[in-house]
């Protein structure tokens, strides 16, 4: 008899874990709170570092899970451990049983308005990286009106003691450079600046993207944080920053400012997480058993974790974790 595996979350991690579990002969069930699978990545236009269409990747993932039982617009409202595994009550009134639970609940995007000094939600031309990605998909955003001067702020809500997030969000640096290049393609005459603390180009092809950003797209990368944003009489943005390489304060007037918002743990899962006895780590994400040999295990038997619920991760890292969690679950079920 095939065993049910309850997968909470239908983003990249959840879909990929389900795909692999099905290949291993188990019966994954995906429970997704929103009205569609795909999570954050489905809202993206192109992926770094090589500008692949996100849609192509997500479409393949959709195809892979088309035969897998999926609940949309559904949340787990209660979950209890029993002799056979877990009993989950869903928000649609149904209940399902599973031998194991995979938490693939992803992340929340940092709310940019919490960094009040950047003026998101107050000054019209301050937008988020997610909103810019939507513009790339739709070419519609009244705020993006042939900007002549564009700024990107890295580490919004990351590596920032003031907001309580001291961790690096890992993907924002590369995303900023990708988006900066794309803006130059859409608006070739625009001057584009990025304001960074360190550029963390850790993955394959990332450093190449960094060089390409400067050599081919003439994007100016300024090492320094933006400290204040305001608006002038014409509705243009006046920013203050520090250029730490020159050791000088800097003021600049921009037409558009893009905030590279960090990842934070998806807090909508807190109640279920508590019921399952999963603690948070020092960054506020879910704690796994061991960062080397138990990264997919939680400290609770039968409960597994994958993707950005434990820390910020890139899409390849997330997919890699989703595949490895499938193996962990398979071994767990077969050795039980």
């Amino acid at each position: 008899m095939k065993e049910n595996i309850i997968i909470i979350g239908g983003g990249a991690a959840g879909m990929e874990a389900a795909t692999q579990l099905q290949k291993l002969g188990l019966t994954p069930v995906i429970i997704e709170k929103s009205n569609a699978l795909g999570g954050h990545i489905a809202q993206w236009d192109k992926l770094f570092p090589a500008f692949h269409n996100a849609k192509d990747v997500v479409s393949k993932m959709f195809d892979n899970v088309k035969d897998i039982k999926t609940y949309l617009n559904t949340e787990v409202t209660d979950i209890q451990r029993n002799a056979d595994g877990f009993h989950a009550v869903l928000s649609n009134g149904e209940a399902i049983d599973g031998k194991a639970v995979v938490l693939a609940t992803g992340f929340d995007l940092f709310k940019a308005e919490r960094k009040q000094e950047y003026g998101y939600g107050i000054y019209n031309n301050v937008i988020t990286s997610l909103e810019l990605e939507k513009f790339f998909r739709t070419r519609k955003d009244e705020r993006i009106n042939n900007p002549k001067k564009i700024g990107f702020v890295h580490c919004v809500g990351a590596r920032d003691v003031k907001v309580g997030n001291t961790y690096c969000s890992k993907v924002c640096c590369t995303t900023a450079l990708k988006q900066a290049c794309e803006m130059k393609e859409v608006f070739p005459e625009a001057e584009v600046y990025t304001f960074y603390m360190d550029l963390r180009m850790f993955g394959p092809g990332y450093e190449d993207l960094y060089l390409k950003t400067q050599k081919d797209y003439d994007v100016k990368c300024i090492r320094g944080r933006v400290c204040e944003v305001s608006e002038d009489m014409d509705g243009r943005l006046v920013i203050k920053a520090e250029d730490t390489l020159f050791g000088k304060p800097l003021r600049m007037t921009l037409d558009l400012l893009v905030l590279m918002c960090s990842m934070e743990k998806n807090k909508s899962i807190d109640k279920i997480q508590r019921q399952l006895g999963i603690e948070n780590n020092s960054d506020g994400f879910m704690q796994n058993r061991d960062m080397y040999l138990g990264m997919n295990d939680s400290k609770q038997e039968g409960v597994f974790v994958a993707g950005t619920c434990t820390a910020p991760k890139s899409l390849p890292d997330t997919i890699g974790e989703a595949r490895s969690v499938a193996v962990e679950v398979f071994n767990y079920v077969n050795n039980k």
């Binding site: 308005e113 009040q116 000054y123 019209n124 204040e228 305001s230 002038d232 009489m233 006046v238």
Partner: protein, 356 residues
């Protein structure tokens, strides 16, 4: 500008302020700079609003200037503050309100530090006992005096005689608000509206009929900044900060600047004279400057106090154009008269900025 965004922040940073019964402490420098302001505050709260605001004649400076100039250690500043709190306790009060923004910052910092490090509070108790034989109680509530005027801004509006409106055009006066750095930049939750978009003065301006000017250098320091001015060699830096602000606000053509700090109105007022002497440039119309007033002075003006009783002749920038815009009657002959009409003599007029 998306005003709803600011309104959300304003709603997030509100404080519950007690209605009545406050122990009031003055500012050491405001009494010299703007002697009418604190008197007006007490008159408005006591006699116009019917509240109990008590002053103990034995209270002193909070030590803030010495502390921020690095001439006394924090323990000394805390012991001075502890003595103020002891006077409050002896006077039978639990709500503490201070006139000075730097004092507000020092009191807040002290209370927060004692909260985090109770052993330091115990040490200061001992210092106070050893030095003064006094015991203190921490205030149940700490407010800045501008918080009080903000709280009662609508009651003041009900008694208003001269709103912040240009009587000739019928349009709201354009008002720049300038918040003292120590109001909420250190502890955003302690100020109405938080640190980035404080509401404490905006609320007064809007309640009294004015229109708020938001300009790029709104958040910039006035130029006081303690060591920017106290160290003589740094004074050019002080002036350059003020200059930067005026250059930034100039295109908006403000009629008035309202402040809630002892130093800000002083530097925003006096440096206008210096800039005019150095460059020939003035920021008001027709050779005048832009008046930089305290919130008590503005409250007094809208409520119909005599401008000279408010001490507005103490400002370098002439106040008369503003009085005429607001339709406030004044007697030019009384501008430099003291008690019983005694002639105090007129100050020397500057050459590049109009004084009358």
């Amino acid at each position: 500008m998306i005003i709803e965004g600011k309104q959300k922040i304003w709603a997030d940073y509100q404080k519950d302020i007690p209605d009545d019964h406050y122990f009031y402490v003055r500012s050491c420098i405001r009494q010299a700079f703007w002697p009418g302001s604190e008197v007006t505050f007490l008159d408005i709260t006591r006699n116009k609003l019917g509240k109990d605001f008590y002053e103990n004649p034995y209270h002193t400076t909070c030590g803030g200037i010495a502390y921020h100039s690095d001439t006394i250690p924090q323990e000394t500043a805390m012991t001075i503050i502890a003595r103020q709190f002891a006077l409050m306790k002896e006077s039978g009060y639990e709500n503490y309100v201070c006139s000075c923004i730097t004092s507000f910052g020092c009191y807040t910092e002290t209370l927060e530090t004692w909260h985090e490090y109770p052993e330091l509070e115990a040490k200061i108790r001992q210092y106070l006992w050893d030095s003064c034989k006094k015991e203190f109680a921490k205030p149940k509530y700490l407010a800045h005096a501008s918080d009080i005027i903000y709280k009662f801004r609508f009651e003041i509006a009900k008694q208003m005689k001269f709103p912040l409106v240009n009587v000739k055009t019928g349009k709201p006066l354009k008002v720049v608000e300038h918040i003292g750095c120590h109001y909420s930049k250190m502890f955003p939750s302690k100020g109405f509206g938080g640190a980035e978009y404080p509401h404490v003065l905006v609320g007064m301006i809007e309640a009294w009929g004015g229109e708020v000017v938001d300009y790029p250098e709104r958040r910039h320091c006035c130029g006081f900044g303690f060591r920017q001015y106290f160290v003589q060699g740094n004074r050019g830096y002080s002036e350059s900060n003020t200059y930067k602000k005026f250059e930034s606000m100039e295109p908006y053509e403000p009629d008035l600047i309202i402040t809630n700090c002892p130093g800000c109105p002083y530097f925003l007022d006096r440096w206008q004279y210096v800039i005019a002497e150095q460059t020939g440039k003035t920021y008001g119309k027709n050779g005048y400057g832009i008046p930089a007033l305290t919130y008590e002075e503005v409250a007094g003006l809208v409520m119909g106090y005599d401008p000279w009783d408010l001490g507005l002749q103490m400002h370098q920038v002439a106040i008369e154009p503003l009085l005429e815009k607001m339709g406030i009657p004044y007697d030019p002959k009384k501008k430099y008269q003291g008690v019983n009409g005694k002639d105090l003599g007129q100050p020397q007029c500057p050459s590049c900025i109009k004084s009358v």
